[in-house]
């Protein structure tokens, strides 16, 4: 029995004249996600994309990978049958046998796009419903809340039969909104922020601030692993590893301790912005959430973002930690994030940080630093690494 995967686009379907460029982007992302699983071809028809392949592939694996591609609202496996009612009947019973056997209630939904098909949709529903009831006598029809929704779509070239539909990742395709620079620390929040912006179509570059010997190579390795965990959703990530030891030490030497974290974050933002300009990113992305820590109070956020020209996107700004963790678990970055290595944000943490810093005072506090030189030397030492799903560290 020939099988295909149907991808239902959600928001993309509303995109008017630009729709096909969004769809093409989504298809190329799907192709990349499926990668080594086989040779696939994609056909677009209305709001559905049909994925077919040659030979024997791991269909469930393909579905799983596609369920992480943004731009797909729902997806399912379907079997393809000739447009002949008796073929549809037999195929539905055979293809969905396991699902129907395990269920108690079902409903048939028919969509007849090809109006030349001799039966109309209600007729298909009645006939096929009756047939399945005979074939699976334990089943009952439930039109309100069926356990299995047997769907028959009669289209131009064939009929498609499928059962349960899986939710897709939603959003719009990565790459349809330009590129953003994610400040990636290695904690729980920043990977979530990155994935959330990828959901709105951003390709990701990332900046990680590396402070050996205060932070270990393991912390850096963890960040690389985190980036790789994000790639099923975000595609390739261009990771910039910025040496930050010199700046951390200079801040510790010549700035009041209570301002250390805020000044450090200002430097990180500035360096990230310069990297963003260099690499064609139109925004910065951070995992900040109001009030989570001293450097993320309203006053602190105002200070860290003060000198920037690019917009700063903070998708988790209004979320509780629990909500962020829920997403981190779903994206599967949580377990890596909580590995206990010092990260760039915890080096030289002051005992009593300023909770309500004032911009003027912060600027005075960092006066003694030779900003230009420090930043230039960090940029000079920055290393770029491209992280893909198959990258081996």
């Amino acid at each position: 029995m020939k099988e295909v995967i149907l991808l239902k686009s959600g928001e993309i379907a509303l995109k008017g004249l630009n729709r096909s460029s969004f769809e093409d982007k989504m298809i190329s992302n799907c192709r990349r996600a499926l990668g080594d699983l086989g040779k696939f071809s994609f056909t677009k028809a209305q709001s559905t994309t049909y994925v077919s392949w040659q030979g024997d592939i791991e269909v469930d694996k393909a579905v799983e990978r596609l369920s992480r591609v943004f731009g797909i609202a729902a997806l399912c496996k379907a079997c393809v049958v000739p447009k002949d009612y008796s073929a549809i009947e037999e195929a539905a019973a055979a293809y969905l046998a396991d699902e129907l056997q395990a269920a108690r209630t079902f409903k048939v939904l028919a969509k007849r796009a090809d109006k030349k098909f001799p039966m109309n949709s209600p007729q298909i529903c009645i006939e096929l419903g009756g047939f399945l009831l005979e074939r699976f006598p334990h089943l009952k029809v439930d039109v309100e809340n069926p356990e299995v929704l047997v769907t028959v779509e009669v289209r131009d070239f064939a009929a498609y039969i499928h059962g349960r539909q899986l939710p897709g990742a939603g959003g719009i395709p990565v790459g349809s909104s330009g590129r953003g620079m994610l400040l990636l620390s290695g904690g729980i929040d920043s990977p979530v922020a990155g994935v959330m912006m990828a959901k709105r179509g951003l390709e990701l570059s990332a900046a990680h601030f590396f402070s050996p010997p205060y932070t270990s190579e393991r912390a850096l390795h963890k960040v690389k692993q985190l980036s790789r965990k994000m790639t099923p959703y975000c595609g390739e990530i261009r990771l910039h590893v910025v040496p930050f030891t010199e700046i951390s030490e200079a801040i510790r030497e010549s700035c009041p301790q209570e301002y250390a974290t805020i000044i450090m974050r200002r430097y990180m933002m500035q360096i990230a912005e310069l990297l963003a300009h260099r690499t064609g990113c139109a925004a910065l992305i951070t995992g900040e959430s109001v009030g989570q820590v001293a450097s993320q109070t309203m006053a602190s956020l105002q200070c860290t973002g003060a000198r920037l020209t690019l917009p700063v996107m903070r998708p988790v700004i209004g979320m509780d930690k629990e909500e962020i963790i829920r997403i981190a678990r779903r994206v599967d970055t949580f377990e890596l994030s909580v590995q206990p290595y010092d990260d760039c944000c915890t080096v030289f943490t002051p005992k009593r940080p300023k909770i309500n810093p004032e911009l003027g005072a912060v600027e005075r506090a960092e006066e003694k630093l030779d900003r230009e030189t420090l930043i230039q030397s960090a940029l000079d030492g920055t290393q770029l690494e491209s992280v893909r799903s198959d990258t081996v560290f």
């Binding site: 791991e58 469930d60 694996k61 396991d98 056997q101 395990a102 270990s216 190579e217 393991r218 390795h221 377990e335 081996v392 560290f393």
Partner: protein, 380 residues
């Protein structure tokens, strides 16, 4: 005297390249993978690489692979660990009568602790009867354990079917598969099989002894057997053997590249073997199925297995009477398959590896013919 080793289901010769990789890890990358310093990180990277190599072959996530000290530990961890974690919910365990000792052993142990253990009969095809298996599973079933390939006769069990029917009856039943005799010989995908846990061993595929792995599907909760360290998420505590893991990873990568070619070779050897049997009076094959051509279980009624094994060994020819772990007792697998006693007591298991040749098999038959001529027939 030329050595002919046809007991590759017991163990295999370690591949020199694989041994070299292990040696390199011992003398160069000798760090403790849990150490904070660079030497530790380097060792950890090697360990992770090995985990990825295994995960790639199984089509699973690297964090679903746990290194063990072999197949026996993997089977014990799966069964005892699952029982310990879920015994308040369910205590019913199901397995086939022909499972390996490292599955039957922990089951027997749990039986003594109060678990209900059901062992289902084997078919003549050398695997559990699907109908009996399905009938044994109920709401209170905790775990089904079944070997993918039977270690003595090579019966290939329809695990996918077992898993599907069992899960349809009870959504929470766990499926454990002992894939020690299949891994590296036939393609395995944990999703296609629908299993929750899968045991592997390194020394059946030219890695050294002392390394195995257990695949545990993400979300499946089991308890550790040992306590005292956070390695491998606390499930297999203790410093990981990086050299052996490296060897395991390298071995599976190497053998998977040639899996189709090797399989064709096994099929050719099997055909050759069966043709030879035709011309050997009295010798019979115990499982005619072609699905696992690398295991040939035969019997020469009238002769005792042990005597034959010794006679052949004296002439540099190594085969086994049954599973090496059964230590010479009557085979429980052949008994469960319902073979007559004289067939059971005269059984010889011949098992191939990627390097086995037709000349090896030829020599085996020549030597066996000598045995038949020289050894006095037993009065069984």
């Amino acid at each position: 005297m030329r050595e002919v080793y046809l007991d590759n289901c017991a163990t295999t010769r370690t591949d020199p390249d694989i041994a070299a990789a292990a040696l390199e890890a011992m003398i160069t990358d000798y760090g403790n993978p849990s150490s904070l310093h660079r030497k530790g990180l380097e060792a950890q990277l090697l360990l992770e690489r090995a985990r990825e190599q295994i995960a790639t072959v199984l089509s699973c996530q690297p964090e679903e692979v746990y290194f063990t000290r072999g197949g026996t530990e993997a089977n014990n961890l799966a069964i005892l660990g699952a029982y310990s974690a879920h015994r308040r919910r369910a205590t019913h365990l199901v397995a086939g009568q022909g499972e390996h000792a490292s599955v039957l052993g922990p089951l027997k142990h749990l039986g003594e602790q109060g678990a209900e253990v059901a062992l289902t009969p084997l078919l003549a095809e050398g695997h559990p009867d699907p109908q009996e298996m399905s009938a044994a599973v109920g709401e209170g079933t905790l775990l089904i354990s079944c070997a993918l390939v039977n270690s003595e006769v090579g019966g290939l069990a329809p695990i996918g079917e077992f898993a599907r029917t069992a899960k349809a009856k009870s959504g929470r039943v766990l499926i454990h598969c002992d894939a020690v005799q299949a891994f590296g010989k036939i393609p395995i995908s944990v999703d296609k099989l629908g299993v929750d846990m899968l045991s592997l061993s390194g020394h059946k595929l030219h890695a050294p002894k002392g390394i195995g792995a257990l695949y545990i599907r993400k979300g499946v909760r089991i308890h550790p057997l040992m306590h005292g360290g956070q390695q491998q998420r606390g499930l297999c505590p203790g410093t990981e053997s990086v050299p052996l893991a490296v060897a395991f990873g390298a071995a599976i990568e190497k053998i998977t590249c040639d899996i189709n070619r090797n399989f064709e070779n096994y099929q050719r050897l099997r055909k050759f073997f069966l043709k030879k049997i035709e011309n050997f009076p009295g010798l019979c094959i115990n499982l005619a199925s072609e699905t696992t051509p690398y295991i040939c279980s035969t019997s020469l009624p009238g002769y005792k297995s042990e005597t034959l094994v010794h006679f052949l060994a004296e002439r540099g020819m190594y085969v086994s009477g049954g599973s090496a772990c059964a230590k010479g007792k009557d085979s429980h697998v052949l008994t469960a398959m319902g073979l007559p006693r004289e067939r059971i007591q005269s059984a010889l298991r011949v098992s191939f590896c990627k390097d086995t040749t037709e000349q090896d098999i030829d020599l085996f038959f020549q030597t066996l013919a000598q045995a038949a001529a020289c050894i006095a027939r037993s009065r069984a």
